[in-house]
Symmetry: C2
DNA sequence: CCTCACCGGTTCAATTTCGAACCATCCTAC
DNA sequence: GTAGGATGGTTCGAAATTGAACCGGTGAGG
């Protein structure tokens, strides 16, 4: 087996270490956020993300599909979680007038309140674990990387039609 | 509301963008890996990770707890997935002689074969989506960041006893 | 030796996620 | 118009994950 062969089948040790550590760090990060959110605010990370995305949206409302895309889940998972949030009184749905197939998801007042209650706690954790470690230079570098990765993901998801 | 107050409750827009994009990118990355693994190799990402960690381990075996820690899941999830892999003939368990409570998880020959079959496909995806975008400088920078984050996670998980 | 706290694993119920199948609506081309 | 494909959502069943409860085994202190 040649060196080139090796490289194409497996990863060079240093590169492999980066990838492994990346997986580990992201999972542990998610885990600690999840735990904090559950313990202190009785809400899951996904549910929190829904609140955030709604609050960020124009008129605090989003079509179901758009929401699913923004929280990066299957549409069915979005349906499920929105129903759950509706039960808690934190979100509501109503029919879209322009397109009878579509449904709007809206943040309720209670939802916004809950978010404002929850955000500081969770954001301080994010700062502590993730953001405070970035100096200006690193933040810029990371932003660039994230943008590149994002573009890669787009390309792979909808493969380029090379005419 | 003062600027400082704002900063402590919410995130400055640029920083917020980094965090949001980080979440999005990591989720989409996981999703595409998962899909590729399922479609082409009928195995989940978690199961693949188990195979990888076992193959990396001394003697291709690991205690159940150690395995759970390395794939970053609850012990019960490790038990479940190992059972699943055992059903597929890709892993086996046996009692630990030194400690009657413990169980070893071992990679079988079939397991190693399956891994060698699967790895190139998935690693090429990881390269394409993630690794190839890193030049030397960025790789070094990312490694440093990952190490810092990892340390942060350690600290928060087992809070420092400040005497 | 006991006792008792801790540790390694498993079991269990509850929650969440996914994709496939499905329904209804929309829209374009004829 | 209307047929047929695409689009927005929901439903459903299967699989995975979690934490709590639990069971033995271990090992340190009395």
């Amino acid at each position: 087996m040649s060196a080139g062969d090796f490289e194409s089948r497996w990863l060079a040790p240093e590169v492999n270490a980066v990838w492994t550590q990346f997986l580990t760090v992201t999972h542990r990060l998610e885990q600690q956020i999840e735990r904090r959110l559950q313990d202190y605010h009785g809400i899951s990370h996904t549910q929190y993300e829904v609140l955030v995305r709604l609050a960020d949206a124009d008129g605090a409302r989003l079509r179901m599909s758009e929401l699913a895309e923004r929280i990066v889940t299957a549409k069915s998972a979005a349906t499920y979680q929105v129903k759950r949030l509706a039960d808690m009184g934190l979100a509501e749905t109503f029919k879209c007038e322009e397109d009878n197939r579509a449904t709007w998801v809206v943040l309720t007042d209670a939802g916004r309140e809950r978010l404002e209650e929850t955000a500081p706690c969770i954001l301080s954790l994010v700062r502590e674990l993730f953001l405070d470690s970035l100096d200006c230079h690193q933040a810029a570098e990371l932003t660039e990387l994230l943008t590149t990765w994002s573009a890669n993901l787009d390309d792979t998801e909808r493969p380029v039609k090379t005419q």
